[in-house]
Symmetry: C2
Subunit: 250 residues, 2 copies
C-alpha cells in the first residue's frame, strides 16, 4: 500500500443505501477502488459485525457516533459529508478552485439536512420505533413535508443552479461536476422512489434540478454502477421509503 493509492474501507449497513450511498457514489464516479466492508461475508470480516467492531474500537482516536465510517490506514472518519469530501479530494471531485470548496461544503451539508428531514417523515418520533408505531404521526407530517419542505428544498437547489452560470454543464458549483452534484442526484433519486406522486407533480417547477438528476444518471461510471449489483435497491429499511399512504396520488 503506497501513500498514493491508499486502501479505502467503507463501513456501512450492508442491506440499505442509506447515508452510505452518498459515499459509494463518490467512489464510483471517481473510479477509486474501495472495500464495502460490511457487504463482504461475515467469515471474511464482513457483515454488520464489522461495523459494531469498528464502533467499539477504542484504540484509534476519536470514535465515530454512527456509520458510515471511512477507514483509511489509521484514519477513521465519520459523518457522511466529511467522508464524501475526503473521497472527493482524492478522486478529483472537489471543485478546482479553493474558493469554491466552502460553497461545496455548505451545499453538501444542506443536502444532508434535507436527507435527515426525509427520514423524519416516516420516523417523526424515534429511529428505535417501527414505522407502524409512528404511522399516525407520519400521516400528519407527510402532507406538510410535501406542501412545504419538499418544494422549499427543490426550489433552493434550483435557485443555486440558476445562480451558478459558470459553465455550459449545469452543476451546483464551479463549471464541472463535483461531489455535491452526486449528493443532489441521490437526494432526488431517493425522493423519486419515496414520493413519486409528489415529485412528479413538482418536477416541472424545478427543471434544472431534474436535468441534473438525469445528467448524473447518464454519466458512464454512474450508469454502470446503477446497473450493477453494487447498487442496492431502495427498500423500506433505509432513508428513502415508499409508503403509498404518505404519497397519495395528486
Amino acid at each position: 500500500m503506497s501513500a498514493a493509492t491508499p486502501t479505502f474501507e467503507l463501513f456501512y449497513w450492508p442491506t440499505i443505501q442509506g447515508r452510505g450511498e452518498f459515499v459509494r457514489l463518490v467512489f464510483e464516479e471517481a473510479g477509486l477502488p474501495y472495500v464495502d466492508v460490511a457487504r463482504r461475508p461475515a467469515g471474511e470480516g464482513g457483515g454488520p459485525g464489522a461495523i459494531v467492531r469498528l464502533l467499539e474500537d477504542d484504540t484509534a482516536g476519536t470514535p465515530p457516533f454512527a456509520p458510515p465510517v471511512l477507514r483509511v490506514g489509521r484514519l477513521r472518519l465519520a459523518q457522511t459529508a466529511l467522508i464524501c469530501r475526503y473521497v472527493a479530494a482524492h478522486g478529483g471531485l472537489l471543485p478546482p478552485a479553493e474558493d469554491d470548496w466552502l460553497r461545496a461544503d455548505q451545499l453538501m451539508l444542506t443536502v444532508m439536512d434535507r436527507v435527515a428531514e426525509v427520514h423524519n417523515v416516516h420516523h417523526p418520533l424515534a429511529s428505535s420505533l417501527y414505522y407502524e408505531d409512528q404511522q399516525t404521526e407520519a400521516l400528519r407530517l407527510a402532507p406538510i413535508f410535501i406542501a412545504e419542505r419538499l418544494p422549499k428544498a427543490l426550489g433552493y437547489f434550483e435557485h443555486v443552479l440558476s445562480a451558478n452560470a459558470a459553465g455550459e454543464e449545469q452543476v451546483l458549483v464551479s463549471d464541472a461536476l463535483s461531489y455535491v452534484d452526486l449528493a443532489l442526484f441521490q437526494l432526488v433519486d431517493g425522493l423519486a422512489y419515496a414520493f413519486p406522486n409528489a415529485l412528479a407533480a413538482l418536477a416541472p417547477q424545478f427543471p434544472r434540478v431534474m436535468a441534473l438528476h438525469a445528467a448524473v444518471a447518464e454519466r458512464p461510471r454512474i450508469a454502470a454502477y446503477l446497473a450493477s449489483p453494487r447498487r442496492l435497491p431502495f427498500n423500506e429499511h433505509g432513508i428513502f421509503r415508499h409508503y403509498p399512504e404518505l404519497d397519495p396520488p395528486r
Copy 2:
C-alpha cells in the same frame, strides 16, 4: 479594513440563541470583534429584515438555505458547523495539528446532529406549526428522547473525552480547547435549560462532559460573555425550550 482584520458580520435571528449562539461563542472565546447584524436597530440596517435581504441577495454566489450566515467581504457562508470552523481558524480555536482538524469537524457535525434532535423533541412534525399544535406528538417523543437519545449523546461525548488523554485539560480534541468544546458546552447548557430534571438525573454518569461544561463557563471571556447583555436568555422560541410537561420530575 485590512486582510488581517476582516469585518465579520453574523446574520442570525435577533431574539434567540438558536444555532447562531454556537457562532457567537467562538467569536467571544477568540476575542474577535463581530457585528451581530440583526441585533442592530432596523434603522441602521439591522433587524430581521437584514437576514431576509441577505437570503434574497442573488448577486453573491451560492445563496444560503437558512441562517446563521456569516458575511466576510464577498464571502457569504451558511451552515453553523462551517461558520464555527471558519471563525475558529481565524481566532486560534482550531486544534493545532492539521491531523486533528478532521476529528474536530466530525465532532462538530455530531454536536449539530444532536442539536437537530433536541429541536425535534418539541417540533416533531414541522417547524411551521406551533408547539401547541404538535404537543401530543412531543409528549410521546420526549420520554424516548430522555431514555434513549440523551444518554446516548452524552455517553458518546463522555467516551470521546475518555479516549482523548492528550493533555491535562479535559477537551475533546488534542490538548487545548477548540471550537468543538464550545459547541459541546452550548449543547449541554441548552439541555440544562430545556431538560433540567433529566439532565440532573443523568449527570453523575457523565462526569467528564459535565466538567467540560463547567470549565468552559468559567473561562474568563466566556464568563464575561455569559454575564453580558450580548448573551440572550434561553426562551421558548429557540432550539432549547423548557416545557415542564416534556421534562417531568425524575
